[in-house]
């Protein structure tokens, strides 16, 4: 498994697209840092309250995190989708899997290698953004590790799904389906939150089930809520708690992910990877 993971990391490091993404992430952080610096300077010059500045900066930070989250999910999908399918199509898998290696070890090696790349890229980019924003604006989110962990886990969830699909589908199909399911998860979460806002005036409306189904299929949206929650100023969260309009904002979270949801995310990943291992074991080469 370690040999395959090492091979996978080497393979990813030789992909130009990954280095382009890293450069783009640095560029995005630099531009945002510059923009926030200007914004905060103007705001302070016009004597805007520090709380308002913190709220504004935190929202910009959440937008940056959203961009990273999206790019990370796409990267995960397009790293994972060809990981198995390309090896099988090209014949590389024949030479590898004829060796005394379990197919599950091969799959987990592929997962682990890509996971290292994704976590380094995703968490690294986000940490860089948080530190730069903190330096230029003075706003440091209440939690740094939490949002980074949620963001990285989001990438790992999409990676697991795309690897599962890669055991049976060609790369394009596996990648496209992973992206669509990721989009659906986000959309079901958004619908659920709009439902909360509507329910404030129409008690009969309950769209919670849509969000629950979305999170059950792919827990990325719930993890995204965790990223948001960790990046917001605590005082704003406390003020907005219970306000249905705040709940409806897709870039605002009044509560962190529940323990039950985090357990489900772990179970989901184990289930999906087990299914992927089973699917690959049953696959004839």
């Amino acid at each position: 498994m370690i040999a395959i993971a090492r091979l996978t990391i080497g393979e990813a490091a030789r992909r130009r697209i990954l280095w382009v993404l890293v450069l783009l992430a640095i560029l995005a952080v630099a531009l945002t840092g510059w923009g926030i610096d200007r914004l905060v300077s103007f705001a302070r010059a016009s004597e805007t309250s520090e709380l308002t500045i913190q709220l504004g900066v935190s929202q910009i930070l959440i937008f940056i995190a959203f961009q990273f989250s999206f790019v990370l999910a796409m990267t995960a999908a397009f790293l994972g989708a060809p990981a198995i399918a390309n090896d099988i199509e090209s014949g590389i898998a024949l030479a590898l899997l004829a060796r005394p290696i379990r197919r599950s070890s091969y799959l987990l090696g592929r997962w682990l290698g890509h996971a290292v790349v994704l976590v380094t890229y995703g968490a690294g980019s986000a940490l860089m953004a948080i530190l730069v924003v903190s330096r230029v604006s003075g706003y440091t989110p209440p939690s740094i590790l939490g949002p980074l962990a949620y963001l990285a886990t989001e990438g790992l969830v999409v990676l697991s799904l795309s690897l599962l699909l890669s055991t049976r589908l060609p790369p394009i199909g596996a990648g496209a389906i992973s992206v669509v399911v990721y989009g659906l998860s986000w959309a079901t979460g958004a619908i659920e939150r709009v439902g909360i806002a509507i329910a404030a005036h129409n008690p009969g409306v309950n769209l919670e089930i849509i969000g629950q189904v979305g999170r059950a299929i792919l827990p990325t949206d719930g993890l995204w809520r965790g990223v948001i929650y960790g990046l917001e100023p605590g005082i704003i969260v406390a003020a907005a708690a219970g306000n249905p309009l705040a709940e409806a904002n897709p870039f605002f979270a009044t509560t962190p992910p529940t323990l039950g949801f985090l357990v489900w995310t772990g179970v989901w990943m184990i289930l999906v990877l087990s299914l992927a291992a089973y699917s690959l074991r049953r696959r004839e080469l």
Binding site: L7, R14, S90, A98, R99, I101, L285
Partner: protein, 309 residues
């Protein structure tokens, strides 16, 4: 299965169906230690399917077998098998030595002595100057040589080569014959899956001919080729004249050459004298076995009544 002890490959009535296609229809064969075994057959005969079953890359629909004394696809047995697939591809960004190292990792080869083992393997397959070249810079023939090297890493007890010379020129093919003999001399059994008859004829100790997913002939080259045949190029032989030769053994005439099976060398002058006495002109006499190509065609055509018609 024969259950003969020490067999490297022992399979009985192996069957494999892909949907409606019966890829293997009761394959039985045995390969012994230290022999080069030719696995011959026309395209689509089921050769590659059989290899995949032996390696556990696909599962049989029915039948049993052992490889190196273990059930098909056994992991520990696979540690001692080197394999060059027909569709050979290696990670293009790796150097030749890194490819060998990856496979050494996968079979759990000790770190000590690897460098020297890789030097030997690269030398054997003719890539000693290219060990630090990326696979992306390799021609197809060089990649196939590297594939042979990969199959030989770790001194396997069984080397399975699926069409190992498909990308090689005549010099490369000759080199491969040398490589196969070296592997055999080191004690490995070699399963050579090929449809290149001359290759098999020159290097194999035993062979099996497969058609329609089953073995239709198996044994040493002499056993598969069967009888000796004496060929006599003649002119002026009338159909009725064949009767004169009945006492020498079974004969056939293709209009130009006359063939007599199992004719003792001592009787060749008598046959020539009989022919000359009956007014037939004799141009050439050659004694030997039927070529593998002729025998192969005979067997495959005999197995396919529709093609005879």
């Amino acid at each position: 299965m024969t259950n003969e002890p020490g067999l490297v490959i022992d399979v009985a009535d192996l069957r494999k169906r892909y949907g409606r296609v019966q890829a293997l229809a009761g394959l039985s064969m045995t390969v012994r230690p230290g022999e080069i075994f030719g696995f011959l057959g026309p395209n689509g005969a089921g050769k590659t399917t059989a290899v995949k079953l032996l390696l556990g890359l696909a599962r049989p629909t029915a039948g049993r077998g052992t490889v190196l004394g273990q059930p098909l696809g056994d992991r520990e047995a696979r540690r001692r098998i080197g394999y060059l697939p027909e569709l050979f591809r290696f990670q293009p960004w790796l150097r030749a030595r890194e490819v060998l190292n990856l496979h050494a990792d996968l079979i759990g080869m000790p770190q000590t002595g690897r460098a020297r083992a890789f030097d030997e393997v690269l030398e054997l397959v003719g890539l000693s100057e290219r060990g630090d070249t990326s696979v992306s810079g390799f021609s197809k023939g060089m990649q196939q040589r590297l594939g042979l090297g990969v199959a030989l890493v770790g001194d396997p007890a069984l080397v399975i080569l699926d069409e190992p010379t498909s990308a090689l020129d005549p010099i490369g093919r000759m080199d491969v014959r040398g490589i196969l003999r070296t592997a055999r001399d080191r004690g490995a059994a070699v399963l050579l899956n090929s449809h290149l008859l001359t290759e098999v004829e020159q290097v194999c100790d035993r062979l099996a001919i497969v058609d329609k997913g089953a073995v239709i002939a198996e044994g040493s080259l002499a056993e598969v080729l069967g009888a000796h045949e004496t060929r006599i190029r003649v002119e002026g032989l009338e159909p009725g004249g064949m009767a004169l030769l009945d006492r020498f053994g079974p004969t056939r005439f293709d209009g130009r050459d006359l063939f007599i099976k199992d004719l003792p060398a001592a009787e060749v002058p008598d046959v020539v004298a009989t022919l000359v006495a009956s007014g037939v002109r004799v141009h050439e006499v050659a004694s030997g076995r039927e070529s593998l190509e002729a025998r192969f065609l005979e067997l495959v055509r005999g197995n396919r009544p529709e093609s005879v018609a």
